[in-house]
Every structure is written in structure tokens, then in C-alpha cells.
């Protein structure tokens, strides 16, 4: 089962990380996590369902472009990291 790790910045809406997910791609894996953590969705995706501009996702060690990452395929052993893009100060 893929594991989804969430940045410590999101502890207020996803208390334990990583979360065991189900899904053949990042989108469906996240959707499953959102079902048990409904508040989390608005922190990761905007109201159009698009990955927020300053959130980035690594899949199996590779940072994928924001416009493609939700469709990236996962294997049973995939590790997904949902991180904040570094910006601001």
C-alpha cells in the first residue's frame, strides 16, 4: 500500500503521518486520505481541485511538476511526500 507523508506544517489537519493510502495514482490516493481527513483537502488543493501553487509532491524520491503530479501512477510500495514549497521568510 502506498504511504503518504505530510509535512509537519499540516499536523493541525492530519495528526499522524505517514498515512497508508489506497489508489493507483496520486489523485486517488489523496482522495482516500481526504475521506478520513476532510479538513486536509483545502490545504492541499484549491477550490478547483488543483494542487496549491506552493505545495509540492515527491513520488518515490522525485519531485514531479504540479500540473502532472496528481496523475502520477503509484505502485504498492510507493512513498509520496506532500511538502510545502520553500518560499517566504
Amino acid at each position: 500500500m502506498p504511504l503518504v507523508h505530510f509535512t509537519a506544517h499540516l499536523r493541525s489537519v492530519v495528526a499522524k503521518s505517514p498515512v497508508v493510502a489506497e489508489g493507483a495514482d496520486v489523485r486517488s490516493a489523496l482522495r482516500g486520505v481526504f475521506e478520513t481527513h476532510p479538513q486536509l483537502e483545502g490545504y492541499v488543493l484549491d477550490e478547483r481541485g488543483v494542487l496549491r501553487q506552493h505545495v509540492c509532491i515527491f513520488v518515490d524520491g522525485e519531485k514531479l511538476p504540479n500540473d502532472r503530479v496528481l496523475d502520477a501512477p503509484l505502485t504498492r510500495t510507493s512513498e509520496v511526500y506532500v511538502m510545502q514549497a520553500l518560499s517566504g521568510g
Partner: protein, 353 residues
């Protein structure tokens, strides 16, 4: 008189408490997270805080016990089918109507209504669909921003909103339809033929006199304006020091009294000659007093943002916060000020509770 002050900053919400004439730091909330605005709604005694997580989008929280416990409430969302595919960047305006409706606005300049204390929001499609929206400017951010909402205490269906570089808009049917209300304003920053174009007027902040809501005040990009007829017409005033600035506060009952915080100019967003001052008029803008007792008198670069000045229901107590993190209170209508701290994070907004 108010006993709490809500100070919204780039790194959290600070609640100050009054003890006699002294204001002291009370509690800190949402530490490290930008709080773009907070709002005390006296009918329900609720505090609303608008957060703008740098990475995770805007979020709203409400406290029903004066800032003890907070719950995250719904974020106003633009509908997916809305023209131009907007996504909300921050909440920048709150107001409560006499029927309990909570209004919110933000960046981009959409407006939303809630009947359940922010548990759910309805997008006001009609304002987004006015034909002029395409000409609204950015007003300091990449997208247009709605920063002022004024609810008529006599009629919950009657609301005015102000949009940076997008004019002033009025509804008398609770948001079903809108009319622009900028007669008398002009824009020196626009090409000459567009000087009086209502849709590009740049109100920085709009307030009304709660006891006499026909009386309204605006700090505009290139001037200070007052209306005595509910925004049907605006008259330009001539304050001393500078007519540029962001903040304005209206006396709760005296129609002739309002406060402004002048800044140097569009090009230099800082006090004139390094002195922080407040301009007050007590005669409807015919004359002004420049008040500075207790405020920095030299080498100050404090800019007071549009929500950075507040007056309480007594009309005597004021709070003012700056981009440099200075926080001042007055208990005598601005005649004298006391600095509570000089070192908060940049202050976006102050409100009394």
C-alpha cells in the same frame, strides 16, 4: 468601552487586554501564520480570524468565547464555473448585517454571505458578473481586492462594498443587483480620458458612521472623500500633511468626526518627514487637526495599512498598528497616544472586541 483589541499580524493574532487605561499583551493565536484580518461581531460575540497560510491557502477560524477556543470554519470558495477561474487568495473584509448575515470579501474581489456564522458560504455571483469587472485593477496585489463592506444597520438588504481600483458598489436587494457609486471621485493615476471612470476608482478604505450610515468616508488613492447621502455623491476633502494613505475610521455617532493616517505618497509609502501623525476632522472635513502626541516624531517608517486603525463604540478609544510592528492606543479620541509595543510583526489589522 472595549476591553480587548485584536491585532492581526504577519505572524499571528495577538489579543491585547485593557486594564484601566493600560493595554497589555494578552494571548497569541495562530503563531507564525499570517492573519490578514480579524473581526469582532458583537451580536453573537464571535471573533472571526482570516488566516493566509503561505502554502496552504486562506482559512477562517471563529472563536465563540472571546479568543479562548477556536474552530476552523468553512473558507469562502469561488464556484468552479465562475468566470476567469478565480481561486480565493485571502479574506480581506468582514461585516455583519442586522439580520445576522455575515458578509466576507477578499482577493480576488468576490463577496460571499453566510447565514450560519461561517459554517457555510454563498458566493454572490451578481457582483462577480458586473460587466465592469474586467477593468478592475490589482490595487497592490496581482488581483483585485475587496477590502471594505458596509452594512446598513437599518436595512440588512442594503450593503456597500469598496474594491481597490474597482470602485464602490451598492446593493439594496441583499446582493441580487449592484450599482456603482463613485460620483465625485477621480483618478489621477489613470489616462486622462479615464479619470472619472467609476470602475477604476481606487478606494483604499471605506467606512460609515454607524449611527448615521448615510455619512461615509473614503481614503482613496489620490484623496480623501466624504459622502453625506449614502454614496450618491462624494466630496473631496483637503487634509493637511498628505491626502495619500490607507486607513480611515469613522466616529460611531458624530457624523462630522473621522480619523485618517496620512502617508507620504504612492511612490513613498511612509510617513511624511519620518513623523507618524493622525489627521482628525470634527466638522465634516472642512478642517483637520494633526495629532501626534505620543507618536514617533522622527525617523519612523511606519505605514498604517487600511485595516490598521480602529475606533471603539465610545468614539474615544482608538487603536493603530503599523507595518513596522508599532501598536498605539488612544483613550481621548486621538489627542494623545500610548505605545503598547514597537516590535510586533507587521500589523495588517486592528479591531476592538
Amino acid at each position: 468601552m472595549a476591553v480587548k483589541a485584536l491585532v492581526s499580524t504577519r505572524k499571528g493574532l495577538f489579543i491585547y487586554r485593557r486594564s484601566g487605561q493600560r493595554w497589555e499583551m494578552g494571548t497569541t493565536h495562530f503563531a507564525g501564520t499570517p492573519v490578514t484580518l480579524s473581526f469582532y461581531e458583537p451580536r453573537e460575540k464571535a471573533i472571526y480570524a482570516a488566516l493566509r497560510h503561505g502554502h496552504f491557502g486562506p482559512k477562517l477560524h471563529r472563536s465563540d468565547d472571546g479568543g479562548g477556543e477556536w474552530i476552523e470554519i468553512a473558507t469562502p470558495d469561488f464556484p468552479v464555473e465562475a468566470d476567469a477561474k478565480p481561486t480565493l487568495k485571502q479574506v480581506w473584509a468582514f461585516a455583519a448585517a442586522s439580520d445576522g448575515t455575515l458578509w466576507a470579501g477578499g482577493i480576488p474581489a468576490g463577496v460571499f454571505k453566510s447565514q450560519d456564522k461561517g459554517e457555510s458560504w454563498q458566493f454572490v455571483q451578481s457582483l462577480w458578473d458586473v460587466p465592469d469587472r474586467g477593468r478592475w485593477g490589482g490595487g497592490g496585489y496581482d488581483e483585485s481586492g475587496l477590502h471594505s463592506i458596509v452594512c446598513d444597520p437599518r436595512d440588512a438588504r442594503h450593503v456597500l462594498v469598496a474594491i481597490s481600483s474597482g470602485g464602490v458598489w451598492e446593493t439594496r436587494d441583499a446582493g441580487k443587483s449592484w450599482q456603482v457609486r463613485t460620483k465625485g471621485m477621480y483618478a489621477v493615476y489613470a489616462p486622462p480620458e479615464q479619470k472619472f471612470d467609476p470602475a477604476i476608482q481606487d478606494p483604499h478604505r471605506m467606512v460609515h458612521c454607524p449611527a448615521e450610515p448615510e455619512v461615509m468616508w473614503i481614503q482613496h488613492h489620490n484623496g480623501v472623500f466624504r459622502s453625506a447621502d449614502g454614496a450618491a455623491e462624494w466630496q473631496e476633502l483637503n487634509p493637511p500633511i498628505s491626502n495619500f494613505g490607507f486607513a480611515v475610521a469613522a466616529h460611531p455617532s458624530r457624523t462630522e468626526t473621522a480619523w485618517f493616517v496620512p502617508a507620504h505618497s504612492d511612490q513613498r509609502r511612509e510617513p511624511v518627514d519620518g513623523r507618524v501623525v493622525v489627521n482628525r476632522t470634527d466638522d465634516g472635513g472642512k478642517s483637520f487637526m494633526t495629532l501626534s502626541h505620543g507618536l514617533p516624531g522622527e525617523q519612523a517608517y511606519d505605514l498604517v495599512y487600511r485595516h490598521g486603525l480602529a475606533v471603539d463604540e465610545s468614539g474615544e478609544r482608538l487603536a493603530m498598528g503599523s507595518t513596522t510592528g508599532g501598536l498605539w492606543f488612544s483613550g481621548d479620541g486621538g489627542e494623545s497616544w500610548t505605545m503598547a509595543t514597537a516590535r510586533l510583526p507587521p500589523i495588517y489589522a486592528v479591531d476592538f472586541a
